[in-house]
């Protein structure tokens, strides 16, 4: 399954890129599954998406929780807590 991933702010800077398209295994169901898979994939993800970093996610541009499904998703974004306003 081809999935577009987007990274913002600290996550983007730590990974050194703003977006990429990855082929994710069919078995991944949720945001948490995707996070675990990315972290296991490469040390750079483990650092940039560290559990200490309070990473937030959006699935198809809607705020998501760890249990939110990514099945049929087109894009998933990872970022720190927002600080606008």
């Amino acid at each position: 399954m081809a999935l577009k991933l987007l990274y913002f702010a600290t996550v983007r800077e730590r990974l050194g890129r703003a977006e990429e398209t990855v082929d994710v295994p069919a078995g991944l169901q949720t945001v948490q599954d995707l996070l675990d898979w990315l972290r296991a994939r490469d040390e750079s993800y483990a650092v940039a998406l560290s559990e200490d970093a309070r990473i937030r996610a959006a699935v198809d541009q809607v705020h998501a929780k760890p249990e939110t499904t990514i099945v049929d998703a087109r894009e998933v974004a990872f970022f720190p807590p927002v600080t606008g306003g």
């Binding site: 913002f8 600290t10 983007r12 809607v62 974004a77 720190p80 927002v82 600080t83 606008g84 306003g85």
Partner: protein
């Protein structure tokens, strides 16, 4: 209802006029303008850069705006948020809420800001006069401010 994400500055009077022009059923307009402060945590700043998530930002702001219109009887709202590099004293964000009565306009404007702060995908990076850049940490008090609206009754 109107949402804009832009690099350009905005004019508060012009935005009020945009909501009130040509009608006489509005009794109250509340605006909130957020400005870049020249100091943060004791550090003098030279620049503030606003990053955002194009597409999601507009959608999220529209959701927040629609939520406000469900809660209060509003005659109009506007949200403008600037992105890109800004300087101390620059305007960052504008929220306008218009209604027949002042209570609804005040509450809706505060609600829009509280929700925007915790839900709209913007991130601030501060650059000090020393040249060091650092991302602003989210404030827990902002979460608390947004949460309080969960307990509020609907339309009044």
């Amino acid at each position: 209802m109107s949402v804009r994400v832009q690099t350009e500055d905005f004019d508060v009077s012009a935005e009020i006029a945009r909501l009130t022009g040509g009608r006489d059923d509005i009794g109250a307009v509340v605006t909130f303008t957020g400005l870049v402060r020249g100091e943060a945590g004791g550090r003098a700043l030279s620049e503030m850069t606003l990053e955002h998530y194009p597409g999601m930002t507009e959608r999220e702001l529209e959701r927040i705006e629609a939520d406000a219109h469900e809660r209060w009887p509003l005659t109009g709202t506007t949200i403008i948020h600037r992105v890109g590099p800004l300087k101390p004293a620059d305007q960052i964000v504008l929220v306008v809420a218009a209604s027949r009565h002042r209570e609804a306009a005040f509450e809706a404007a505060a609600f829009l800001m509280d929700y925007l702060k915790t839900r709209a995908p913007f991130w601030k990076k501060e650059t000090g006069r020393d040249g060091d850049g650092s991302w602003v940490d989210a404030r827990e008090s902002d979460d608390a401010a947004a949460d309080k609206w969960q307990r509020r009754p609907a339309k009044r």
